[in-house]
Structures are given as C-alpha cells and as structure tokens.
C-alpha cells in the first residue's frame, strides 16, 4: 500500500514507480499525465513529507501534501511540492485507478469528515450502513486500530471495494475489514465527497499556472542557494582575513623582537596593502627577500637570517592548512 503520511492508499495499475522526482520537472511531468488523460494518482515521497495528486481523465482534481503531522491542499500543496522537488531528493509513483476509486481517495484526502475517531463498540454499524445507503454516500469508511487499517469505498451509497494493509489490490470481500472492526480499540472515520462528474469540473492544472509556479520556485531556490554560497564564501573570506591578520601581527611581533620597531614597520609596509601575498609561494619568497634587504641595514646578518627563518616557519605553520 502507499502511505500518504496519514494512512495508506491502494496501489492500482502501476504507470511509473520509484522514478526520481528531480528527473521529472514538475510542470512537464504533470502536463504529460494530463495529456495521457490518466485516471489515478501521482504519489511523491520525500524524507519528511508525501504528496498525492489525484487525476480523473487527465484533470488534476486534488493536490494534497502531508508534512509534520499536518496537511495542505490545492495551490499551497503544489507550491510546497515544487519546492521539495527542487530542493530535496524524492521518488514519484503513478498508479491508475477507476474514476470511482479516485473519487473515494478524494474523499479520504480532501473530503468532508462526517465522523471522526468513532469507537467501533459505540457505533451502530447497521444503522450507519443504512444511512450511507439512504444518503447515497460518495466516499469511504476507514476502520483502523493502532496497527491495522482498512478502507471501504462507496459510490452512491453502494460499496464498490475494500482495501486493507498488506493487500496489493482492491478486494470485493469485506472479511478483513470486518475482522479489523472487531479488534479491541478499533475506530471509524467516515469521509464524503462529491460524485466524479462534479469533481471533474475542477482542474488545478487549469486554475494554476504551473509553469510560472515552477519557475518562481526554482528561481527562489536558486537565489537561496546562491545566497548560501555567497554567505559561505563571505564567511570563508572573513575567516581567511582574520587568519592573515593574525599571521601579520605575529610576523610584526617577531620583527620587533629581533630588530626593533623599524622591523615592525618593515612588515607593515609589505603587508598592510595586501596580506594575501602570504598565500602565494612566489610572493611570499619576494616578501621575505624585501624584509631581509631592509633588515640588513639595521641589524647583523645572523639576526636577519634568524628573523627570516622564524618568519618562514610561522607562515608555513599558520597558513599551510589553508593551501
């Protein structure tokens, strides 16, 4: 069974299974299903959410997305779906069902809730069934315990199929559903919706400009990615600058220690304009050469050589992890 996040859905005739959601850009994929006049449902599965799109004769009559214990529908569901297709890995399955079953699923996902969490021990089953028949219910019953689920589909008050966990097809026998109804703690939900003829007048693909919605979603995602990259690059740049500044101050301290304030001034003169020269091997060598040339005028060769060696060591120790 397929699990839309709340309860499982019956798998019909598979059209596509376990396709990568990112490999099929939303608008093109959904439009292709419309062109094929498909009747059934498209199920998207992501790490923390699932979406179900119901089709009847190529018309998208419902879009729902479940996440974090909640569910959204319509434009909001499509927007959220496109966002997830663009930003996270997921899979998509497409199953064909009859129009009546699609109607029942619509009741399950978006229909009117007639009864919710009713304890089966307190339910007058006969009376309920009689009312369903009298009211010509279009929808479904859901009977469930903590571990088990069963669905009973109705069209004009007549049962048209049964479905339960572990099954791979719509069944015509009520046996399992009855058995679940008899289990301790079993509960009942009743969902109702409009007949398929009325549902078909609603087509989300015509009401929503999915191309524009997709483009704006992708652009927003792109912009977010670029901002993240820019922020990361800026943060990396800031870290690098701080690191270079610390190395600069360390080199200045070394020079002052060996040859006095003029040594510090020599280091500042070379590095204040562009500390990034310390990251390039050639420029680094030239920098140390200039320090040596200046230091030789105010200090002896042994001190100058010691200073240059210490500077080289310090630069390599502090900056080699960055190269």
């Amino acid at each position: 069974m397929y699990n839309p996040g709340v309860f499982q859905l019956p798998k019909g005739a598979p059209v596509v299974t376990q396709l990568s959601a990112a490999a099929t850009p939303g608008p093109q994929f959904l439009s292709s299903l419309a062109r094929q006049a498909i009747t059934g449902y498209v199920a998207y599965a992501f790490a923390a959410s699932q979406a179900v799109l119901l089709y009847d004769g190529g018309r998208m009559i419902s879009a729902t997305l479940s996440r974090g214990g909640g569910r959204v529908s319509g434009l909001e569901a499509l927007t959220e779906l496109f966002r997830r297709i663009a930003t996270e890995p997921g899979t998509v399955d497409v199953y064909r069902l009859t129009p009546d079953l699609v109607m029942c699923l619509h009741a399950l996902l978006q229909g009117e809730v007639l009864h919710k969490d009713q304890d089966m021990r307190l339910v007058d089953a006969k009376g309920l069934l009689a009312k369903i028949k009298a009211d010509r219910l279009n929808g479904c019953l859901r009977i469930y315990t903590q571990e088990k689920n069963a669905l009973i589909f109705y069209r004009d008050g007549v049962g048209i199929g049964f479905f339960h966990d572990g099954s791979d097809r719509i069944e015509t026998q009520i046996n399992e559903s009855q058995r679940i109804a008899g289990l301790p703690g079993a509960k009942l939900d009743v969902f109702s919706t409009r007949p398929p003829e009325e549902l078909r007048s609603f087509d989300l693909l015509e009401m929503v400009n999915v191309e524009k919605l997709w483009d704006s979603t992708v652009r927003a995602h792109q912009a977010q990615l670029e901002k993240l990259h820019a922020d990361a690059a800026a943060s990396e740049q800031r870290n690098l600058e701080q690191k270079l500044k610390a190395v600069h101050e360390g080199l200045r301290a070394l020079a002052i220690e060996q040859i006095g304030k003029l040594g510090g001034a020599l280091v500042d003169k070379e590095l204040l304009e562009d500390r990034a020269i310390l990251l390039d091997a050639e420029k680094r060598t030239a920098f140390l050469g200039r320090i040596e040339a200046g230091a030789k005028l105010v200090a002896g060769m042994s001190k100058v050589k010691a200073l240059v060696a210490q500077m080289r060591e310090k630069i390599e120790a502090e900056l080699s992890p960055l190269s």
Binding site: I259, G260, K261, L262, G263, A265, L266, K269, R290, A293, G294, K296, L297, V298, A299, G300, M301, S302, K303
Partner: protein, 246 residues
Amino acid sequence: MSLSDYLNTIGALDAIRVALWLVAAAISVYFSVGSARIWTSISTGFLLVFVSEAYFAYPSADPRISAIHSVVGTIAILAMTHGLQEYYVFSRTLDVGGQKRWVYLAVAATVLASIAFLLINPTPSEATVRNIRMVENATWVFLTVINLDMVRKIYVQVRDTPVARGFLAFSATFALIFLWRGSALYLEVYGWDDAWEHIASAAGMALDPDRFSVRAAIARATQQGAGILASVAASGSFLYVLRLLR
C-alpha cells in the same frame, strides 16, 4: 730619501694623518663589500677622503694636482652626505633599492668630470689652488653640520635597532671632522694659513703674523689634532658598525 728625510719634507703629523686615513679607507671599503647599497655612498666618501689627503704624502709641484686633490675632497663629503640622506630616507620610507655599481659610476663620473674641468682651464695659480681648497673646507664645514643633524634624525628613527649605536659613533666622527675642517677654514678665512703667507709675501703685502698668533696656533693645533682623531674615529666607527651588523 730616508724615512726621516721624507717625514721632514712632508711633516710627521701629515704623514700620520694620511696613514690613518688609509686605514679608515681600507676599513670602509671592506665594510661596503658585504653591506647594502645605502652604505656604499658613505664608504666611498671616506675612501675619497684618503685619496684627497694622499696629496700630503707626495706633494706635487704641479698646482693642478693639488687642485684635483681638493676637488676630490669636496666630492668625498658630498658622497657621504648623499649616503646619509639615503639612509634617512630609508629609515622613514623603508624603501631599499638600487645597485652599488651606479654609486661607483656616479662618483667616478663626478671625479672625472671635475678633473676634466680643471684640465681644460688654465693652470691654477697658487691663489686659485688656495681658493679651491677654501671651497673644499667650506663645503666640508657646512655639510658636516648637515650630516650631524642627519645622523641625529637617523638615530631617532632606528633607536631600538642593533645599528643605532653605530650612528652615535659616526656623530663623534663628524664632530671631529667639523673641528678639523672648521679650523682649517678659519685659518684660511683670516689669512693665517701658510698658503696665504706665501702668496702675500710674494705680492709684497705686509702681514702681522704675531698679532693673533695664539688664535692661529690654537686653530692649527685643532686642525692637526682633529684631523688625526677624525681618521681614528672614522676607522673606529666602521669597525663598530661592522661588529653591530655581524
């Protein structure tokens, strides 16, 4: 000619002074070989001092030779001053650049041009030679004062570096040079030098050598003594800086 005859001819003090300037020149040249370009001008200047003073070791009858030595002496203090100015610029801007060979070439070109100028002009008379020497001494006096200030400024900039005390030594050298050349100029300005006595007597001018004999004697003694001490101080300064920069 024996050594004593030679010393009697040229004067013992002059001989000692020339010998000491030779030592100072040798040390300054040795120092400049392994040091940076900025020291080259200063070292070359002290070398030229010896070249200038060497005249006294072998005086020539040709007045142009005396004039050439005076001109070389003038160029010597110019080279030293240029070197100290470059050092001061370095101590403020920290710019180090250039090559030694350009210093040698510039100094050599200046010396040659000066010699050429003397050669193309009429043979200088005794008075002309004295004038050239007065210009030399005046240049030394004024540039030495400038150099003393320059050394002070350099010292302020490099105060906490190993080489700083070397400049204190050079300030002592230039102070002695100031006394040496200053006293010589003093004698020349007031006509108490030997050359003027010779020129005046040849011209039949009456002089009163005893009128200010004490001042003249002090000035001569200062000239002789400071000349020797300046050479010793120059040698010592270069040796001291060599030790500081080891």
